[in-house]
């Protein structure tokens, strides 16, 4: 069972390396340690037209042994101000990571989904109420400046610092 996970992870790893050029917003997606294919890390880049521009956001990915039947657990290591990300724990509220997960997804596609979540927040199911409230009140200017501030504060330097 577990060997099936490893096969699939190996497959994904190779596929990721092969089409690295096709996804500009994913700087890195690899296992943290070579011998542990069940613990990955990724670095997302803030898209150019968004308030997250210039930020590098590190993700921590834990693969369960029943993957891909079960979804991976992903959280932000870098602090990020986003309506659907818990500011302190980095927990991500994304349906495809929870109820809407299907085994047809891959780590790569999930990372792309998270990347697009950054630019398309969903304030109706918030984990960060302050950011969501700004958006719900229509204060995009305030929201953007807040995001920019936090991005500059936490995400512009080295990703490894908490």
């Amino acid at each position: 069972m577990s060997s099936a996970v490893h096969r699939r992870m190996l497959k994904e790893y190779m596929a990721i390396q092969k089409n690295a050029a096709t996804r500009p917003h994913l700087e890195l997606l690899e296992p943290i340690q070579e011998d542990d294919l069940l613990h990955w890390q990724a670095i997302l880049l803030g898209t150019a037209d968004s308030a997250y521009e210039g930020g590098r956001f590190k993700l921590d990915i834990v693969i369960p042994t029943s993957y891909p039947i079960q979804s991976p657990t992903i959280r932000f290591v870098t602090k990020i101000c986003h309506p659907n990300v818990h500011f302190k724990t980095g927990e991500i509220c994304l349906d495809i990571l929870k109820s809407e997960w299907t085994p047809a997804w891959t780590l790569e596609s999930v990372c792309v989904a998270i990347s697009s979540l950054l630019t398309n927040p969903e304030p109706s199911s918030p984990l960060n109420c302050d950011a969501a409230n700004l958006l719900r009140c229509g204060d995009t200017a305030g929201y953007n400046s807040l995001v920019k501030m936090y991005t500059a504060l936490y995400a512009t330097g080295d990703c490894d610092e908490e």
């Binding site: 099936a4 096969r7 497959k11 596929a15 092969k18 891909p68 039947i69 299907t102």
Partner: protein
């Protein structure tokens, strides 16, 4: 599937449609080539095992999220066949393609068949021995071959069946005008040559191989006689040189097509032949084909060895439908001598495939080839993929699937009984038993969907692996839980210590406040001795806070409080002394002014 990790992007970018084919033959869940392909109502295809596992958790199609259930799973036989055969020839096809495309991108494989042929031969016959063999006559083949090691000989014996194929090809070519071309095509397949000489060798060494050899020989002979209808071979061997060349252009796939044709032909022909009857060994009670009895007894049973791929528990066999037994006997007859090799080749260990990978020195490849060519006879994958299409007989008994159980409605005893019925271990608690049953149900039912089902023994092996993995998983979880508990405990301790410290500090602050109060209440004592005052003021505090029993914390608190008390005491003392001095001064002034006017200037001057 083939041992290595494969991906649609393996195919060169020029062959985009091959990539497409590859990706469409893959299960979206495990990303492998489909194994036992099944289709859902929404017409999405998956591996049977993968989709069953998924539907155990969630009742929707992984691809489109349409609600579905296990009962809607239908076999997709054609797709499964395609995926299986694609998997069989994939590595070969890929390597052939790569050799053609990569080094000389100009050469299109189809446009220059001759060139391709040359190239592949150069590569295949790079060893001088082999080169010689190719150009020499059959006799030299034999000498070369006899100088090869035992493994090769064994191999050639197994690939006896190839012999017959070649014989047909040759006999046909003899009558055909395009003989040489046809020959070249078949020549490019090493095992054929090898097996040819192997055959001669075998006739020579038959005495040593005794009855066993005879017996093995027999089915191939019978098969040989059956497809004497040369017409069947016409399209593939020689008769049309053009087609031969086209086939040669993809020399590897020639072999494949070649083999598949032979296979289909022989399968149609050999349907009535069910092979020797199975009997129970009197000693080990295993099922063995009748003609094989003596060999089994002499070489394996009495010698204490097991010939696992050949024998089976007789009790298991008699429960099987006749077609399975027939298959099993067939498998035995052709794979006996190279049990391990054939086995590995049958699990498609994937000769990494040179263009004509069969020629490579890899001993597994000839065996693999032989099994491919003689699938109806030697496929130990269980049933013959093509057979259901040709024989209505074997298509009929589809094994019954294990029904799903609602484990919460069963008690331990019932569940244990269910496991016993399936021949599964019954140890462990109810959760383990339920999980075991669910796992077995999944893999068994998935196996039922396969066109190349595995024998039950292999499923049992898989279950053992699962059992070990489950135990390991439990251990890991347990250790993780313990670590977490420890962490929590240490955290709690740290928290408690912090709390105590905080409390102590607070007390110290209170104490300091108290010291400020106390000197005012008792001004003379503060002046007299600072140390005593602080300690005396702390006595009631200590009494109040019996809860704080951490000695270190209180000690530091004492020191802290004492320091502050000193400071305050000094301050207060200074203030007091100043006040006192002022008072005395004022008093003295008053005295002087009230008593005498004369000493007054003297005091003021002083």
């Amino acid at each position: 599937m083939n041992g290595g990790i494969t991906d649609p992007s393996d195919w060169p970018i020029e062959f985009k449609s091959l990539r497409e084919i590859d990706s469409h033959l893959r299960c979206p869940i495990c990303k492998e080539l489909l194994r036992a392909a099944v289709v859902l109502q929404c017409s999405h295809n998956f591996c049977s095992e993968c989709i069953r596992r998924h539907l155990d958790k969630e009742s929707s199609c992984p691809a489109c999220r349409v609600a579905t259930s296990t009962s809607q799973i239908r076999r997709n036989v054609a797709l499964d066949e395609i995926a299986n055969n694609f998997g069989d020839c994939r590595s070969l096809l890929l390597s052939t393609l790569m050799e053609v495309v990569r080094p000389k991108p100009v050469a299109k494989p189809v446009s220059a068949p001759r060139f391709v042929k040359e190239e592949s031969m150069d590569i295949d016959y790079d060893s001088p021995q082999q080169k010689r063999r190719r150009t020499s006559t059959r006799i030299t083949n034999r000498t070369v071959n006899s100088s090869q090691d035992h493994a090769d000989i064994a191999m050639s014996q197994v690939s006896l069946d190839d012999d017959k194929d070649e014989d047909f090809a040759l006999s046909h070519h003899d009558s055909s005008p395009s003989r040489h071309k046809g020959k070249n095509v078949s020549r490019s397949t090493g095992p054929v040559l090898r097996s040819r000489s192997g055959r001669t060798e075998q006739t020579l060494s038959q005495s040593s191989q005794s009855s066993q050899a005879d017996e093995r020989y027999e089915p191939s002979i019978s098969a040989k006689q059956e497809p004497t209808s040369d017409t069947v071979f016409d399209p593939f061997h020689g008769s049309a040189p053009a087609s031969a060349q086209v086939l040669a252009s993809l020399s590897s796939s020639t072999d494949i097509t070649n083999s598949t044709t032979t296979m289909t032909v022989t399968s149609t022909a050999s349907v009535p032949v069910t092979g020797p009857k199975l009997v129970a060994c009197p000693i080990c009670e295993k099922g063995i084909p009748e003609p094989y009895t003596n060999t089994h007894l002499d070489k394996f049973c009495l010698a204490g060895r097991t010939d696992p791929d050949y024998t089976l528990l007789y009790s298991l066999i008699i429960k099987q439908p006749a077609s399975v037994i027939a298959l099993y006997t067939k498998q035995g007859t052709s794979t006996r001598d190279v049990v391990p090799d054939t086995n590995s080749s049958l699990t498609k260990s994937g000769t990494p495939g040179r263009s004509v990978g069969f020629n490579s020195s890899n001993p597994a490849s000839p065996a693999r080839r032989s099994t491919m060519q003689w699938q109806p006879q030697s496929s130990s994958n269980g049933t013959v993929p093509k057979q259901p299409m040709f024989t209505p007989k074997s298509a009929a008994p589809e094994p019954t699937r294990i029904p799903k159980l609602t484990y919460s409605l069963l008690n331990d005893k019932q569940l244990r009984k269910k496991l016993q019925e399936l021949g599964l271990p019954t140890n462990g608690d109810k959760t383990l038993m339920a999980k075991r049953h669910a796992e077995y149900t999944t893999i068994f039912n998935a196996n039922c969907d396969s066109t190349r089902p595995k024998p039950v023994s292999e499923l049992m092996k898989a279950m053992q692996v699962w059992e070990r993995a489950y135990e390991k998983d439990l251990e890991v979880k347990e250790s993780q839980r313990r670590i977490l508990e420890q962490q929590q405990q240490t955290q709690r301790q740290i928290h408690a210590a912090k709390e105590a410290k905080r409390q102590a500090k607070k007390d110290a602050a209170d104490a300091a406040a108290a010291t400020i109060d106390s000197p005012e209440a008792t001004p003379p004592s503060s002046q007299s001795s600072n140390g005593r005052s602080s300690s005396s003021t702390f006595v009631p505090n200590q009494a109040n806070n019996n809860a704080v029993n951490v000695a270190i914390a209180s000690a530091s608190a004492f020191a802290h409080a004492a320091k502050y008390a000193d400071e305050y005491a000094e301050l207060i003392a200074e203030v007091r002394s100043r006040l006192q001095a002022n008072k005395e001064k004022a008093l003295a002034e008053n005295n002087t002014t009230t008593t005498t006017a004369e000493p007054a200037p003297s005091t003021s001057s002083q």
